[in-house]
Amino acid sequence: MDRSISGAGGGRGARPTAHELARYESLFATRTRGMKSSAMREMMALTERSDVISLAGGLPDTKTFAPELYAKLMSQVAATSTARALQYGPTEGMASTIDCITQVMAAEGTPIDPGEVIVTTGGQQVIDLVCKTLIDPGDVIVAEAPTYPGAVPTFSAYEAHVEQIEMDADGMPIDELESVLDRLQAEGRRPKFIYTIPNFQNPGGVTMSLPRRRRLVEVAHERELLILEDNPYGLLRYEGEPLPTLHSLDAQLGAGGGAADLVIYLGTFSKILSPGLRLGWSVAPRPVLEKLNLGKQGSDLCSSPVTQLFVAEYFKEREAGGEPRWLGYLEQLKDLYRSRRDVMLESLAEHFGEGARWTQPQGGLFVWATLDERIDTTDLLAQARKSEGVAFVPGRAAYMDGRRGSSSMRLNFAGVEAADIREGIRRIGKVVRQQLGLYGSLTGSGTRAGTPARADSASTESTTESTAAAASAEADAQTGKAPLADVVAFPRREQDGSARRQQDR
């Protein structure tokens, strides 16, 4: 750094004074203003303590991975590929790793050409690279509401304007999306991409219905828009039939000559194997892929060959019956997470009050619970952390404005042992009752919090929204499916005969 910046007063190793900081301030890019810490994030950092039961993480349970297998795979990498493991690799990723990705994509029902893949440093890097490639300051991204809390700082850092569309039980309502797109067009603004997590959405826990998936891909084609399909949990389905990826629906349309034309797919090994590997990938239309590749060169040249080779070795492993071991491990994870989800749903029914609602995800890692509207979950977290030693993600973290979602919370069940889930939910329920009791005393309305209720009160909630929309129940009837997620927090819409109805399938 230039001497004139480190400046007077500070000796070697001195921290900058306020004056010097002001001088740095003038050198910072404007976009750093969007990169802000927040009091809420500071508070959440404090929940990462061993004496806190944290339902806040986005964590899979890595304790289930056999240490002997880890040791064996690492030894194999060392024995066969030390020099390659320690060397730079190709930016797009190593062929042996891309082969594994092709297998995962096949398991997702999405056959791909290995030439369409780029290996990334976690799925998070795909979000970053897609923004880096597509977003100029002020450009519009359309996302779900709530959306993945980890995408919020990325979108902010690239100074994107984010339009969030409230989900219901079947994910993002596409007619709402179209209304937003119409409005944006009228304002002379064209969104760059639509960001969606169609399966077991983070944080919402809901899954986008097949009719909506189809319609979303059509809308993208009608309007020449890209879709960023974030699918970390697709293979972690605990019941029900898998739905086709947006990528595969796009490819079926044939516009891309058998490849996806407008869908940028994001996948990751984080949830089916390990987040510590920091390996994800994108499958993208070739022109986009080239730009992502250039963007990645500038970011980190390549993802770690050590972990790429680890994955390649892992995918060679077979069970006694000849089945790929990674699929066996996936089954093991699904059994574990399914049982933990059930424990969480039972605990919620037992300990959360009447005013609470929550999603019942068919897969993934999270339940989204919405409490009595008088509760602010950011404040609730402060008290829960302090008096009960339990943590969750306040709903506001999933909204760009940091305000909406104030009565909701994201709860992770996958990375937490059953006993801790029970105890954690019990403790949160206790704090909720205390707050509602206090509220009742203050308003003279008495406590409304005493009676825990079962979750299956979906019908009472579904009357709260009555926008012009398709009835998803009807859509379900047409596709011959049972309702996807018996969701309480995201009400299904009422049936009506709106003109938009046909479009929302």
């Binding site: 927040s38 950011t378 203050l442």
Partner: protein, 317 residues
Amino acid sequence: MSSPGRVAVLKGGRSLERNVSLRSGAHAQEALTRLGHEVIAIDVDEGFVEQLLSAAPDAALVALHGPDGEDGTLQSLLEAIGLPYTGSGPAACMCCTDKALAKHLMRGAGIPTPDFHSLEESWIEQLGAAQALPSVERSIGFPLVVKPVSQGSALGVKFARSSEELPGALVGAFSYGSKILIERYVKGRDLAVSVLDGPEGPLPLPVVEAVPREEDFFDYESRYEIGMTTFVCPAELSDEQTARAQELALSVYRLLGCHGVARVDLLLDEQSGELWVLEANVVPGMTETSLLPQAADAAGVGFDELIARVLESAFTR
């Protein structure tokens, strides 16, 4: 302590201000090292006393913010151990940490502080204190501010524009502490005056103004959000206003029995031009962007000298 010695820097803790405290502590440690002291950094957590006793320092520099470090408990403990420590003693800490107590004392001494009432959470259930709220509303008026008496995180500060908003603001503020303050909202400029002890006794430093980057008076959180505020030092005030702010800060420092260093937060009423004292902080932040180092810098006191003077306060009690 002008000759080099062993100094324990006490930081971290478990409050919402943990991260700020860790940064303050790290910043102070570097200065102490440059001053030639041997530094022992201690995160105030389980095993703290054992760690402190086995380190056997000559003095402790308190960089622990929030109730953990500012409510007098830590200071009492250090006195029990017989270890010299920086800053105010237990009584001043107790007064400053309890914003309601500090305001009662200020009001009694004729120092202007916005009208207020305090409320204990248990009173609401046990004594039916909610019935006193209408009279509190009448006496303070809307809009009003609700905040826990003893913590410094912006998260706990709530705003109510009407009777309907008050219960929510109260429940929110009680999430951060069992005793809260309901205070008249003064619309105006945020000022801070730090007072630093020195050879000529305690002296007020130049006034710092905190200017929110985006004006949103009704959103306290964004107002106090890191990076949402810029600081001006010395604040652009008339000589008269500056002198008055400094005089008030020094009076508060003396009134509450502060020692070594303290920061007094004030508001300059945009309508009346009057200055109001909100609170005093006995362990002011020492991070790169904290108000005390900025004010000291503006007074020609570099960070190392600031830390040297703070350390000296351990031996001048």
